[in-house]
Amino acid sequence: MKKLMCARAEELLVRDLDAGLTDTERALLETHLTGCAACAELRQEISGLIAALKTDSPADPGEEYWHRYDLSLEAGLREKEINPGVWVLRWKLAAAALCVVLVVLAAREFTGRPDRDAQTLPARALALVEDLREIYGPVEEDRYLSMDIGNDAAFPGDFRIAFLNDGFTNWFEVEDESDNLLL
């Protein structure tokens, strides 16, 4: 019976922390507490726990923090407020401009300008030409290849040194080489 009363008292103690008790419940609790040291101590412990928890509530970060908060939230809200239709329009304009540029570049490529100089082509394109030469015909005037071997000879164990030594190369080696040269 006492145990049952203690369990009831414990429940009332916790409820008393916030919602409060009815008069009957309070009378019941107080009567029990005067006769039960364990529950009286429990009341103190629970109050202590709640008090300790309250002291651990987060501290206010200060005015400077709130100022920064307000500024960045305001900026974020302003960004959201921009009519999304405006962004769609901007994207459409950007896409149209890109199409025009692409058309102009393609036209220049196909009309074949007379002053076009191989030296001014992007290096990657030269490597491609190099590869095609390796695949479809004997190596002639291998300016880029020899230059590359010369540059990299200082690295011991490089496969290009082996190429120089035994005079043998294959498609894969040339591909690797051009990659190394151009990166």
Binding site: I46, L49, D56, G76, K80
Partner: protein
């Protein structure tokens, strides 16, 4: 003007109505998030994300709950998402929140130790119990509000609070009501 009126005003195109809602809730919502994530900068980012989301979604708000409940629900879920991504650090910094003016150095150390123990013990509580305890104690929400934010009934929020207190008491033992340090007798879980 109450929150519902402000929400309606905002939906009718009054931007200032949303600014008023921000003024009412930005600090309490940020403090709630801070209580959960314990990181000022993360709390700021999460809180701003909450208001930006509210700004975006308010047009679809159906008034099934109060604006406050709706907003806190977004806040709690965002804070939970953050915690899922990053493990919470519950060490207590010395420069945090003075519990009591002018305690002695040893008392102060003991209080900090107590807080670390409390946070560690809270960390081990089931999530709903922990959040219930935080909303009840740090944010002073009543059980009805807690049920609205976390889901469930007022009764289940009360039970969760009760269970959380019981578990903490079992883990930590007695805490002196005035000094907030553990009573030497019956101490547990150190």
């Amino acid at each position: 003007m109450n929150d519902a009126d402000l929400v309606r005003d905002f939906r009718n195109g009054n931007r200032e109505a949303f600014a008023e809602l921000v003024r009412r809730y930005s600090r309490p919502v940020t403090m709630t998030i801070l209580g959960i994530v314990r990181d000022n900068e993360a709390a700021k980012d999460i809180s701003q994300h909450v208001f930006l989301k509210a700004f975006e979604k308010l047009s679809g708000f159906m008034f099934a709950s109060s604006f406050k409940t709706w907003l806190y629900r977004i806040a709690i879920n965002s804070a939970r998402d953050h915690l899922r991504r990053r493990k919470r650090d519950f060490t207590v910094e010395l420069n945090e929140h003075e519990p009591e003016p002018g305690p002695s150095a040893s008392e102060r150390l003991e209080q900090l130790r107590m807080r670390s123990l409390l946070r560690a013990a809270m960390e081990e509580l089931p999530e709903k119990q922990r959040l219930t305890l935080q909303l009840r104690i740090y944010d002073e929400m009543d059980y009805k509000e807690i049920a609205g934010v976390l889901g469930g009934t007022e009764g289940s929020a009360r039970v969760n609070f009760f269970q959380a207190v019981k578990t903490l008491r079992k883990k930590i033992g007695g805490i002196d009501e005035k000094t907030y340090v553990r009573k030497s007798r019956g101490a547990a879980g150190s």
